[in-house]
């Protein structure tokens, strides 16, 4: 049995998102496995980013359930019980379960530990590279500073926590090769470095699931290769699961363990990369249909 079915971390059930009359995501379900790199692909306008925004709390889905297990694995009975209880989360010995559609955005990042990056890079441009990584550890440092009061009077436990935060940031800077630029403005970095910095910033918040929205967009082949290595090391070394939107098929096919294909807001394929690549519906969605009668009519007219 494949990992995403045997050890799911995220389960999206019957997700629909409507904007007025427009149906961006239509009854979409999938699961992502713990320790997997799951790629969400599809033509432009397929609804990938909308799914991301629902998972990370920037949109409230019109219909649907998004369950995430911070630890342990998702069991249907546990999810049902939590859904009926009306609460947001349930912590048990086997599983820390969260229902993301019930939580505001910052809570999803803080409690359920879902990190994300953005399609158009959203760094704190006027702050230094280091500050970007320190802000990512905001909640931890806030606790250490006793909600600012302890920090104001200069508690030693706070300076200790700050030192740890600095170490963590420096460690990440070394991994993405930006240690020398730690004190430069983030906005002054070249594009490729900004992409990697945004990933490092999301990682500094200690996520269990990292959602990356087109991390390879605009990168040259060398940078793209470095990105692959970084993502693989995040999966293998940090044991953080990754959910990835990507157009660059070389990245998707090389590193992902599981591919979900979305077109017109619906799931048209789901499986291992090799499987998906051969799927006629996927080929139709990406390349258009030579003969409309050959594949499902609903897929026709893609790019």
């Amino acid at each position: 049995m494949t990992r995403w079915l045997s050890e799911p971390l995220l389960a999206v059930d019957h997700l629909s998102m409507r904007f007025g009359g427009l149906v961006a995501v239509d009854d979409f379900s999938f699961v992502a496995g713990r320790g997997d790199i799951t790629a969400l692909i599809g033509p432009n306008g397929a609804g990938k980013t909308t799914v991301f925004n629902c998972i990370t709390g920037f949109y409230k889905p019109t219909i649907g359930r998004i369950a995430l297990a911070r630890s342990g694995k998702i069991e249907a009975t546990g999810v049902e019980a939590l859904t009926r209880s009306g609460r947001r989360s349930a912590v048990s010995q086997t599983c820390d379960l969260y229902l993301l559609e019930r939580m505001p955005g910052h809570e999803i990042a803080r409690s359920a530990r879902v990190g994300r990056t953005f399609q158009n890079i959203r760094l704190f441009q006027g702050m230094t590279v280091l500050e970007n990584l320190i802000v990512a550890q905001h909640n931890e440092l806030m606790r250490a500073s006793l909600m600012t009061v302890g920090g104001l009077i200069g508690l030693p436990s706070y300076s200790q926590a700050e030192k740890l935060a600095l170490d963590k940031a420096a460690n990440w800077l070394e991994r993405i090769g930006l240690l020398d630029r730690a004190d430069d403005a983030a906005g002054a970095l070249p594009y490729g470095d900004q992409r990697r910095l945004e990933i490092a910033r999301a990682m500094c918040a200690d996520p269990v699931l990292l959602c990356l929205d087109e991390p390879a967009a605009g990168l040259n082949p060398r940078e793209s290769g470095e990105l692959n290595d970084l993502l693989l090391s995040i999966r293998d070394k940090d044991r953080v699961s990754i959910l990835l939107i990507e157009h660059d098929m070389s990245v998707v096919m090389k590193i992902s363990d599981h591919v979900v294909v979305l077109d017109y807001g619906r799931r048209i394929a789901d499986g291992a990369p090799v499987q998906v690549r051969e799927d006629p519906a996927v080929i139709a969605a990406y390349l258009g249909v030579a003969d409309a009668g050959e594949t499902k009519a609903s897929v026709g007219g893609g790019q």
């Binding site: 990042a109 959203r122 704190f124 230094t128 500073s145 600012t148």
Partner: protein
């Protein structure tokens, strides 16, 4: 701004050029400034001769041109020379009219100032040239490096010495204006500017109703002291607390709004507070305001002319009202420094970094788990608290408050100080407060303008015009304020300022 390349020549070239420009000015101003027809008592026209005015104008142009063209000087040095020369020229003109004949040999003073400025320029020219080069190479890095801790201490020491120095040099009568109009008045706005800087400069929330919290603070002290007889030292923290409370109360519903919407709602809130103060006559006495608010005491010892209990008598001094003013000066100085210290410290804590991150990108903040609503609320409450302190000080200084003092114009002035100073920069905001408020006071006293525009001219009436013009010019030349660079709150290897072009302005 290095003009050396275009001018090419040396000092002699610059002098000749400036001389020519001065001659042209003299020629042009001869019919306009030097000669004037006035009606005498017999209704006949008479020619009035105003040579010093023409001479002053020519001198202004001469030194201005010289400052612009002298080789190898930095921008700052050029400005210093120009301002000194302008001062000298104005002084000369005033003296020629016999308006101020107390000083000996004023021509000498004027020339000495101008000469000293020239010599200073000449001496610092090589240094300025290299530092200009260094600035060019390293961007804004030179800025923070040049500002050492010693400079800060010297600045604070100079501020503490200022009233005593003024008293010593000018006596109790002469120094009152300097300590009160320039010292206390400017420091109030420095403090308000620093308080608003937390909200606008750091958190990036455009607040157009800041004066409301200032009013809350002022009325808190006014009412608590007149109704319940509480002392200033008890009312001061209460005023801050109440203002912060109102900040939170306003913040909860409106901080979900962003940008223009937030600005409009805060503007409305500022007006609401003022209108309530006007109409709730039972409590606030409406337009008439609250008068005879207890004056400040020296920790319980009143500043009165009394042989037994007064401050002067207790400390063996001769009674003078200046003592109270000096105490007020130190009080507002300490309050302003407290605001500054708190802001600087908070910037280095997670909450301060979260404010700045919020200004840079609110959506990214949410994705990192920063609770944006509570972060905004703390910025709002803290800014309001410092306005509350300043308000209590305002009430105890004036010993009278009325809604007139808390109009939208005040909010606009404070916001202008923050924007002109450079959002988020403590030093820039202080400099802008000195320039704006001090500049307005100076303008009030520029009687020389009466000589140009006639006796009925009141320079104070044109303050807002000059103020507006200065704003427009600033926004064209330095749209991000006097100090546009940002100092990082934490660093790994070197603390280098971040150039303003990267720093966000906040969208609410």
């Amino acid at each position: 701004m290095d003009l050396r390349q275009e001018t090419g020549g040396g000092l002699w070239e610059a002098l000749r050029d400036a001389g020519a420009a001065a001659l042209v000015t003299a020629g042009l101003s001869f019919p306009i400034l030097a000669l004037r027809t006035v009606e005498n008592l017999d209704n006949k026209l008479e020619l009035e001769q105003r040579w010093p005015l023409m001479f002053g104008a020519a001198m202004l142009v001469f030194f201005g041109r010289l400052a612009a063209r002298v080789p190898g000087a930095g921008v700052a040095a050029r400005w210093i020379v120009f301002v000194c020369a302008a001062f000298a020229a104005i002084y000369l003109v005033i003296d020629a009219w016999g308006m101020d004949a107390d000083f000996p040999a004023p021509e000498l003073v004027a020339l000495a100032v101008a000469l000293a400025a020239m010599v200073g320029l000449w001496l610092t020219a090589p240094f300025a040239a290299t530092s200009a080069l260094a600035r060019k190479q390293q961007g804004a890095r030179a800025f923070l490096g040049a500002r050492s801790r010693h400079m800060e201490f010297a600045g604070v020491f100079a501020l503490f010495a200022f009233p005593l120095l003024a008293l010593w040099l000018l006596g109790p009568q002469g120094s009152l204006k300097w300590i009160n109009n320039y010292g206390v008045q400017i420091l109030i706005y420095v403090m308000l500017g620093w308080g608003l800087n937390i909200v606008v400069g750091l958190a990036g929330l455009l607040d157009l109703g800041y004066v409301a919290f200032y009013a809350v603070g002022a009325y808190t002290y006014a009412l608590l002291s007149t109704v319940f007889g509480l002392s200033f030292w008890i009312c001061l923290p209460l005023a801050g607390l109440f203002a912060a409370f109102w900040g939170v109360l306003l913040g909860i519903p409106v901080l979900r709004l962003r940008g223009d919407y937030l600005a409009i709602v805060t503007l409305g809130f500022g007006e609401i507070i003022r209108v309530v103060l006007i109409n709730w006559t039972d409590l606030t006495n409406g337009y008439a305001g609250i008068s005879s608010i207890p004056r400040i005491t020296f920790f319980g010892i009143p500043f009165i002319d009394d042989d037994e209990t007064g401050f002067a008598a207790r400390f063996g001094l001769e009674f003078s009202p200046i003592h109270r003013t000096i105490f007020l000066f130190y009080l507002i100085l300490c309050l302003a420094l407290l605001t500054n210290a708190a802001t600087l410290r908070l910037r280095r804590l997670p909450i301060g970094r979260a404010w700045e991150a919020l200004r840079e990108d609110e959506i990214a903040c949410r994705s990192l788990g920063v609770d944006t609503v509570s972060t905004k609320l703390t910025a709002f409450a803290l800014g309001a608290m410092f306005a509350g302190f300043a308000g209590a000080f305002f009430a105890v200084r004036q010993n009278f408050v009325s809604p007139e003092s808390f109009t939208f114009g005040e909010s606009a002035t404070i916001l202008a100080i923050v924007v002109l100073g450079g959002m988020g920069s403590q030093l820039g905001v202080a400099a802008a407060a000195v320039a704006l408020i001090g500049g307005m006071e100076i303008l009030r006293e520029l009687d020389i303008l009466k000589q140009v525009f006639g006796e009925s001219f009141d320079p104070a009436q044109y303050r807002m015009l000059v103020f507006g013009l200065a704003m427009v010019v600033m926004m064209i030349w330095k749209p991000r304020g006097v100090v546009s660079s940002r100092a990082p709150s934490i660093y790994l290897r070197s603390r280098a300022a971040i150039s303003g072009e990267h720093v966000g302005e906040g969208r609410g």
